[in-house]
C-alpha cells in the first residue's frame, strides 16, 4: 500500500504552518513508523483508537498492518500537479490548518469536487481529487486532516494551543500509519 501524507500551508504565517510542521514531525519519526508496530511501540508511538462521524470503522490492528510505503511531502498550496501524486498512491491524507472549527483535529473523507478558486493557483483537496479521477482514472482513498490554529500573522512558531493540537495530530497520523490505514471508507 502506498500512502502519501501531504501537508500544506505557509511556514512564515504562524499557525498556518501546521500542515508543513506535521510533516516535519513525521519525518523525524519516520524510521519508527516504517518499522511497523513493534518499532513504533519501541519508540513510544501508540496505535490510536478513534471514532469518526462518517461511520468510520476502527483501524486495523497494528499486528496485521499491511506492507506500506509512506511518502511525506508539504507544499504552500495545492495545485494541478498534486493530482499526479494522488494517482500514484492508494491513500492520501491532506493536512491543513483550520481557522474555524472546534478545538483539536478533525479527519474527514474527501469527495471529488469541480469547484475552483477565482484567481490563485491554489486548489482544494476535493478539486485535486476530481482532477486525478479525470486525468488518470484514479480512485485513491483521500482524507483531509485539519488542525485548529489560532494565530495567522507573519512570524514563525506556533501558538500554544496550535502546538498542543499538532501533537494530537501527530499521534493520530502515527497511529494511522502504524495500522496501515484509516479504517474510514472512501467518500465516493
Amino acid at each position: 500500500m502506498k500512502i502519501l501524507i501531504l501537508g500544506f500551508g505557509n511556514p512564515g504565517r504562524a499557525d498556518d504552518a501546521l500542515g508543513p510542521l506535521l510533516i516535519e514531525e513525521l519525518e523525524r519519526r519516520r524510521a519508527a513508523i516504517e518499522g511497523g508496530a513493534p518499532a513504533a511501540r519501541a519508540a513510544g508511538i501508540q496505535a490510536v483508537d478513534y471514532d469518526a462521524t462518517a461511520g468510520a470503522a476502527q483501524p486495523a490492528s497494528p499486528a496485521v498492518a499491511p506492507a506500506r510505503e509512506i511518502d511525506l511531502a508539504w507544499s504552500y498550496e495545492l495545485a494541478a500537479d498534486h493530482a499526479y501524486d494522488l494517482a500514484r498512491h492508494d491513500l492520501t491524507i491532506f493536512v491543513d490548518a483550520a481557522r474555524r472549527q472546534a478545538e483539536g483535529v478533525r479527519l474527514r473523507s474527501v469527495r471529488p469536487s469541480r469547484s475552483v478558486t477565482f484567481s490563485t493557483h491554489a486548489m482544494t483537496p476535493a478539486s485535486v481529487l476530481a482532477l486525478a479521477r479525470e486525468l488518470y482514472r484514479a480512485k485513491p482513498e483521500v482524507h483531509l486532516l485539519t488542525i485548529r490554529g489560532y494565530r495567522w500573522g507573519l512570524g514563525e512558531g506556533l501558538s500554544p494551543g496550535a502546538a498542543d493540537n499538532l501533537a494530537a495530530a501527530a499521534k493520530l497520523v502515527e497511529g494511522i500509519l502504524t495500522c496501515g490505514g484509516t479504517g474510514m471508507p472512501p467518500a465516493g
Binding site: 504565517r13 494541478a80 479525470e134 507573519l154
Partner: protein
C-alpha cells in the same frame, strides 16, 4: 486513548479581491477600483535577521514563486558581501541560479496557462464557471492537461536539483551557490521517465504556443481588443537588448516605443521608480519618477518584456517572437496577448534549461566569491509575473536594518485597475445588475496579469472576487461574489 474525530467545513485564512464600480447620475461608469489587500509586514519581519538568512526567509512570501524571491534576495546579498552583480559570480554559480530560475519560470508559466488561461480559451470567458476550469479542461482536452501537469512537475524537479529541494531551497547564498549539478541529477532531467525530459518539454512548450496561435486565428477580434489600452512597459533586459529573465539593466518604454529608462543599473532604481500611496488601497502604486504618478505607471510581466526586449536568445523562442512581433506590432498594449507572450517565454525557458543541462560548467566546484562588504544591496529579477525588486540595508553586526520590496503584482497595480475600468465601462454602463458575463469579464481582465495574491496578500489559497456597484451617493446598486 480515544481521539474524537468530527467532520466539518474547512476554512483557512482568507483574502479577497474586491472591485468597486462607481456609477454617476447619467448611469455611466465613473470610476472602478480593484482593491487587493497587501500586507507590508514582511519587510519589518526580516529586520533584525542576519543578512545571510534573507534568501531562505523571503521564500515565505509566496507559495507560487518562492524561487524568484530566493534569487532576488541572493542577488541583493551578493552586493552586500562584495560579490557585485551578475558577472561577479563564478560561472557555476551564475548558471546554477539561471537554471533554477528557468525551472521556476517554466513551471509557473505552465501552471498559469493550464489553470487560468486555457479554460477561458477552450470554453470562452462567458462560459459557465462550473465548466470553465481546470477540470473542465481535463475533460475536454485530457492530453493538454496531462502535458501541463508533467511540465509543471518537471520544472519543479529542475528547482529541486538546483535549490536542494522543491520548497524552501537553499541553493543560492550570498556570493554564489552552495551546490553544483551532479551528473545523475543532470541525466534525470535530460532523459527522465514518463516523458519528463528536456526534449519532450521543449516539444510540448512549442505545442502550447501553437495551441494559442490556433485560438488567436479564430478569435482575433476578442484577443486584440479585450482590455486594450496604452501604457508604459518596464523590465530588465540584457545589455545588448536580449530578453534576460535573470539579470540585466532596467529599460522602460512608452506606448510608442520611445525609451523612457534605458541601460540603468538596478542598484539605482530609486532614482527612477517611486511608489505612491492611495487612501483606498493597501497596495502601493509604483511609477516612473520622471513622468509622475499620472503618466508614469507601467506594466511588467511577459507582455512588457516582449515589448522592451529586442530579441530572444534561443532559436525556437526567437522564431515565435518574430511571428508574434509581425502580428502584433512594435509595441503591444493588448492585454490578452499576455498569454501568448507568456507561452513564448515558457518555450524560451525550456530551451535555456536544455542548453544549460548540457553545459559542463554546472559540474564546476568554485561555488562562491566574496569581496569588500557593502551596507546596501539591491537585487532585481524578472519573476514569472514581472519585475521584482528587493532592497536591503545591513548593519556592521550583519543584521538587516531595512528592507523594501516591490513585487510584480504591486508593479501591475495600476494596469490591473485600468483593465478593470476598461471592462467596467464596456459592460456595465447603464446597467443596474451585475451579471455572470460581467463577473467573468472582470475575472479574465485581472487573470491576464496573473496576480500572485499569496505574494501580495495573506490569501493562503482562497481568492473570492467581490464586485460592488454603487451609485453617485454611494448607495448600493448591486453586489455579486464568486469563489
Amino acid at each position: 486513548m480515544t481521539t474524537k474525530i468530527t467532520i466539518g467545513p474547512v476554512t483557512r485564512v482568507e483574502g479577497h479581491g474586491k472591485v468597486t464600480i462607481q456609477i454617476n447620475d447619467k448611469g455611466e461608469v465613473e470610476q472602478s477600483r480593484l482593491h487587493i489587500v497587501e500586507f507590508r509586514g514582511f519587510e519589518r519581519f526580516v529586520q533584525g535577521r542576519p543578512y545571510w538568512e534573507a534568501p531562505v526567509l523571503v521564500q515565505r512570501l509566496c507559495g507560487i514563486c518562492p524561487v524568484s524571491h530566493h534569487l532576488a534576495a541572493a542577488k541583493a546579498m551578493d552586493v552586500v558581501v562584495g560579490a557585485g552583480t551578475g558577472a561577479g559570480l563564478t560561472p557555476v554559480a551564475e548558471k546554477m541560479r539561471r537554471l533554477m530560475h528557468y525551472g521556476q519560470i517554466f513551471q509557473s508559466h505552465t501552471l498559469h496557462f493550464f489553470h487560468l488561461a486555457s479554460p477561458d480559451l477552450l470554453f470562452g470567458y462567458d462560459a459557465d464557471p462550473a465548466k470553465r476550469n481546470v477540470i473542465g479542461v481535463a475533460l475536454e482536452n485530457p492530453e493538454l492537461a496531462r502535458h501541463a501537469v508533467l511540465m509543471r512537475k518537471w520544472g519543479q524537479e529542475v528547482i529541486a536539483a538546483t535549490a536542494g529541494k522543491k520548497i524552501h531551497g537553499t541553493g543560492a547564498v550570498p556570493g554564489g551557490v552552495n551546490k553544483n549539478l551532479q551528473p545523475e541529477e543532470r541525466d534525470l532531467l535530460l532523459a527522465g521517465p514518463d516523458s519528463m525530459n528536456a526534449d519532450t518539454m521543449v516539444e510540448w512548450a512549442l505545442s502550447a504556443v501553437a495551441f494559442f496561435k490556433d485560438y488567436y486565428r479564430s478569435h482575433r477580434e476578442f484577443i486584440d481588443n479585450f482590455s486594450h489600452f496604452p501604457s508604459n512597459h518596464l523590465s530588465l533586459v540584457r545589455k545588448d537588448g536580449a530578453l534576460d529573465l535573470y539579470h540585466g539593466v532596467i529599460r522602460a518604454i512608452d506606448s510608442e516605443g520611445k525609451r523612457i529608462i534605458d541601460d540603468v543599473d538596478y542598484q539605482d532604481y530609486l532614482l527612477y521608480i517611486r511608489e505612491e500611496v492611495r487612501s483606498w488601497s493597501y497596495m502601493k502604486f509604483p511609477f516612473i519618477k520622471a513622468l509622475g504618478p499620472e503618466r508614469g505607471w507601467y506594466r511588467v510581466g511577459p507582455l512588457a518584456r516582449l515589448n522592451t526586449a529586442e530579441f530572444i536568445p534561443s532559436p525556437l523562442a526567437q522564431r515565435e517572437f518574430e511571428e508574434y512581433k509581425a502580428a502584433t506590432g512594435r509595441v503591444n498594449d493588448r492585454c490578452m496577448h499576455t498569454h501568448w507572450a507568456r507561452l513564448i517565454e515558457a518555450l524560451h525557458a525550456a530551451e535555456m534549461i536544455r542548453s544549460l543541462l548540457r553545459d559542463p560548467d554546472l559540474q564546476g566546484t568554485n561555488l562562491c566569491v566574496a569581496g569588500t562588504r557593502e551596507k546596501r544591496g539591491v537585487g532585481v529579477i524578472e519573476a514569472p509575473r514581472g519585475t521584482l525588486f528587493h532592497e536591503y540595508e545591513v548593519s556592521e553586526s550583519d543584521q538587516i536594518t531595512m528592507c523594501n520590496l516591490i513585487v510584480s503584482t504591486t508593479n501591475n497595480n495600476e494596469p490591473m485597475n485600468r483593465a478593470v475600468n476598461f471592462v467596467a465601462r464596456a459592460m456595465m454602463t447603464g446597467k443596474q445588475k451585475i451579471t455572470e458575463p460581467m463577473m467573468n469579464a472582470v475575472e479574465v481582465a485581472i487573470r491576464a496579469y496573473d496576480p500572485c495574491l499569496s505574494c501580495a496578500t495573506h490569501a493562503a489559497g482562497r481568492m473570492p472576487l467581490e464586485i460592488t456597484m454603487v451609485g453617485p451617493e454611494g448607495d448600493l446598486i448591486d453586489r455579486r461574489e464568486t469563489d
